[in-house]
Assembly symmetry: C2
Homo-oligomer: 236 residues x 2
DNA sequence: AAAATACAACTTGTATACACAAAAAAATCG
DNA sequence: CGATTTTTTTGTGTATACAAGTTGTATTTT
């Protein structure tokens, strides 16, 4: 039960990551060193090291002589995201199918169990974090140090965007979440079988689903409904 | 001429980057905090922050209670490199052709001038650094925050691998360097024209050339020479 | 009254001192 | 003499104090 400095440092790191991924700290928020060091019982020195590390991973932006800030998300970054994600996700899942170890596959199954539980009874934040965890494990499986930096950067903003669309507001959005869960199962199967072609295909499918979900949020039905017509809802 | 702490910090960062890229600090080297802080007139606090940042960018590996270490390069990382590089380089150059500004194109031309100068009169380190700078600018041009982390990580090890193969040992290797320079010119033209298809094709060509150069180094001619025959040296 | 400047409060950046952990050297025991 | 334990040394991690920079406010000037 040693609550030494090292564990407090890890706690702080985890706390910041979760807070940023779940938008509890929304993009652009300024972080106060004094307040945080007080709250976590750490001096500013190790705290600033944590800031530097998180900045390197893409959670924070640092500006000299100014406070650290939660990294921004603008329309241009959203566009960049849509350009980069399909390519990187596909490559990661393909490599995951090639290289996954048994221990990692077990981790992935655990993550998927947690995701299903979050879908049943969790909050939007729980779902986003569980989904983040699932994909994080696929990244570990790929084991490619050159792709992981971008993949992890993508996962951060995927979770943050997801914090909005994991709050299903229409039946279609709920259906999408169930489909996502089924795709996760298929991904596990493909990885377990070492079928990289299937894994790559599933990455594309999974991405398209995510994209649809985001579009449902960005462009809600109302805009597509001609005056006087009933809202379209495609048969499940 | 203010030699204040901030500039010394930047100096240290630049020094470490260059030393690592040029293999003056070879992979696996331990860095001594006390010695470096003495050499650059910095206390250990800002020095450690620089370490954290460079670790985030992939230059260093940090292990708790142990010295920081220049990031390793093994055979598995070389394999990962060959898998990831073509994809990421292609995407970056395609985006560069889409998004480059006039100012950036001027920067790229400057970088190419410096590269040509290094080819004529520079050391292997000069060439590797100039080449690194050229591709770094293409990364800036792409402006995609999600692809840049992996691209920059790739550039680090590309430079380090290049430190061996930018030391031409055969006429074929020299020819390859001239060809690389010509490809750089073609890349500039494609970007200036906004021709993303051409840029993507050139990325592939440029990568294949790099790959050939690396293979020439990894598998030198000697192995192909039957006993009793004179060493082959293809006509210039 | 508006703009500019000077000052004060606050925040970030750096240096130094100390606490702690790991490695190296010396001493003890089989 | 060799192996193992203890002591010494070296180097990393953290806390605190101080320096430098930034921001907001009040006063002065036009």
């Amino acid at each position: 039960m040693k609550d030494d400095a090292k564990s407090r440092k890890a706690e702080l790191t985890e706390h910041l990551k979760v807070s940023i991924l779940t938008l509890r700290l929304h993009p652009g928020t300024d972080l106060d060193e004094a307040h945080l060091s007080d709250a976590f019982g750490l001096s500013r020195t190790p705290l600033r090291e944590v800031f530097r590390q998180l900045a390197g991973e893409g959670y924070l932006d640092l500006r000299t002589n100014r406070s650290a800030r939660v990294s921004e998300m603008s329309y241009t970054t959203l566009r960049d995201f849509f350009l980069a994600a399909p390519m990187v996700y596909g490559a990661i899942l393909r490599l995951a199918a090639q290289n996954a170890t048994h221990a990692q596959i077990d981790e992935l199954k655990d993550a998927q169990q947690a995701f299903k539980a979050a879908l049943r009874a969790g909050s939007g934040a729980d779902r986003a974090l569980a989904n983040n965890r699932f994909h994080d494990v696929t990244g570990e499986m790929s084991g490619n140090v050159y792709l992981l930096p971008s993949f992890n950067r993508l996962l951060i903003d995927h979770a943050r965007i997801g914090m909005t669309f994991y709050r299903p507001q229409t039946s279609k959005m709920s259906d999408n979440l169930s489909e996502a869960s089924r795709q996760h199962d298929a991904i596990i199967a493909a990885i377990e079988a070492g079928d990289e072609a299937a894994a790559a295909q599933l990455a594309e499918d999974h991405w398209n689903l995510s994209r649809d979900q985001i579009e449902l949020f960005v462009m809600p039905d109302a805009l597509d409904v001609p005056m006087g017509n009933p809202p379209l809802s495609k048969p499940a």
